[in-house]
Symmetry: C2
Subunit: 361 residues, 2 copies
């Protein structure tokens, strides 16, 4: 149970997240007007194609989450992984999370290991090897829970005693694929299951694409172990490229269709060739000084994104401030200010209070 | 039997080539003073470490070549592959050639396919596949005649009915490795055996390095199929990089030591990943208009290398001119002028006569 920081806005986000399948559809509105206003509009003008709200109020949303032992994390919450804000309007409105770990801390030091469902024995063993090596270096392995490479990445992490995060396309309580029911249960016990879809959601086609984008955004780098040409995996890689996250691809035999996507990523997209775990580590810790999490308080203030800089400037020196005041001060919508607060919090520049937000000294 | 163009200089080069194992040792002197002067010095002052000349005169050099049905090609000869001049002082003084094909024309449209002796079944099949594909596109395949990838490249070319050039480290009459005796005999029949070592020379260690440089210089691009780390094959690739020739490397399983050198070439040296023959063809014919030989008369005169431009300027408009006159005119040594003439001839700007050289109109 996460403490609600700014009750109305947070609750409105949760209700929207629990009811609107595709956040990209209303992301722009939430960013401009804040979730309260968007939800209000939705309630008053459901429109001809708008189904009645599935979870009409915060109590129901929370009860649905409780039923599957999930917690809900939204921007501004301490566990919110602020790198998801890089997705802009396509950022999730909320995440349902099952598992004991701290999502924000795990994500800050995470690598995606993804690939084809129709993987070869070679690819499966490589995925397991990379996962084990990343665990040994202290990294969390993120993948999509699918058959093939994803499954091997999760299993290799668990076998090596590491922490793995599985990003699901459907609800966190929907075991998909069915054959991975036991694996997903173990991940729930020892790692994290997360999803931007509310509990009970079936994993429809478009949710896989959104899921792939989230994997790319959540992690420091994406390792593609095997991928067919023009596959869901190359879509994850493309999302990572678009977000300026490093992409690495594992080579394989040239006759293997399962490696063809990897080879194209290297030759045509500029992905790095990954043959050893060290190739990944070198890329995420370029100075060879060991990996360093993103968002750590190393960024000079004058390199802050403009919105974050504006919000930071609006803070009183010692007192706490509430969201409404901040919005009025900077002249931005609640959604944008909350996004900025998430980023400032991830950089340890501000902290959240029951009364609002305060500068960290 | 090649007609001697400029008897003294050519003969002196042949005698030097037949006696001096490592042309780099005297290349600078020949370039500065011409072969006649260098040979003269060598004959008068053999020095304490200088063995007596093995082939003391041109008749003996020619007889040695005749005995193994080899012809000798030097810079300025019509079959001289002028791209070897890119090796500068390390360029061969002469080449011994067995086989019916035109060395210059074949080399202009040739690709090196090279790799590890300790190749895998995968590598052998890939080498054969690339060779066959290059043949189909009308290219000559050059390799080093060694066990493993080289052998497969030659065999794949022959099986596909193409022409293959084998660059040997020892003499053209020395079947090395012994197990390739039949293969080398077939290459002599259907392709070319070439070497910068005189007949009878054993393939010593340093000659393999020189051979590898020549393979890189002779060809439009080098395809590395399999290579161990820090191997003779990576030396060939490094020579190609140094000569600004494109290098392509074939990926393989990351557990395979035979592919490790290829992966390093891609990741650390900028070699292109080669998974299909088309990847090679695209690189040597960048406009997709089909391959175009180097040295074709497409280079504008004002882009000629400075020495070639000076030599070209020194030509009389209609008459033929001999080497001595040209040297006096441009104030350069016979070796440099001969190199320049080789380049001008390859560009079809000058032609050679029994009386010397003449502008082509």
């Amino acid at each position: 149970m996460t403490r609600p920081i700014v009750d109305d806005e947070r609750a409105a986000r949760l209700i929207l997240a629990a009811n609107v399948g595709d956040p990209a559809r209303i992301g722009a509105q939430v960013e401009r007007d804040g979730a309260v206003a968007v939800l209000d509009r939705l309630r008053r003008q459901p429109g001809p194609f708008q189904a009645p709200l599935r979870a009409a109020n915060i109590e129901q949303v929370q009860a649905d989450a409780d039923r599957c032992a999930a917690r809900i994390v939204v921007v501004g919450d301490r566990q919110w992984p602020s790198q998801l804000n890089d997705l802009g309007r396509a950022a999730p409105l909320a995440l349902w999370v099952i598992g004991a770990g701290d999502l924000r801390l795990l994500a800050l030091r995470s690598i995606a290991v993804v690939g084809a469902r129709a993987a070869t024995a070679y690819g499966l063993s490589v995925a397991e090897m990379f996962a084990a090596g990343l665990v040994q270096a202290g990294w969390t392995v993120v993948s999509g829970g699918a058959y093939g490479i994803d499954g091997s990445a999760h299993r290799g992490t668990l076998i090596a005693g590491g922490t793995t995060v599985c990003v699901l396309a459907g609800g966190v309580d929907v075991a998909y694929p069915r054959g991975h029911q036991a694996l997903l249960a173990r991940i729930a016990d020892e790692g994290l299951l997360i999803s931007q879809s509310p509990p009970g959601t079936a994993p429809q086609r478009h949710r896989f694409l959104t899921r792939n984008h989230m994997i790319a955004a959540l992690t420091r780098a994406t390792v593609v172990v095997e991928a067919a040409l023009r596959s869901g995996t190359t879509a994850t890689a493309n999302a990572a490229f678009a977000l300026n996250r490093p992409v690495l691809a594992v080579p394989g035999p040239i006759h293997s269709a399962a490696s063809a996507g990897c080879h194209v990523l290297v030759r045509e997209r500029g992905a790095m060739l990954a043959t050893r775990v060290e190739d990944v580590l070198e890329l995420v810790s370029p100075m060879g000084l060991g990996p360093e999490p993103v968002g750590a308080p190393t960024l000079p203030l004058d390199e802050l994104p403009p919105t974050q800089a504006r919000v930071l400037d609006a803070f009183p020196t010692r007192r706490a401030v509430d969201l409404e005041t901040l919005c009025a001060q900077v002249g931005l919508g609640a959604g944008q200010v909350l996004s900025a607060l998430g980023g400032l919090q991830a950089r340890d520049l501000v902290i959240s209070h029951p009364q609002g937000w305060q500068l960290r000294h």
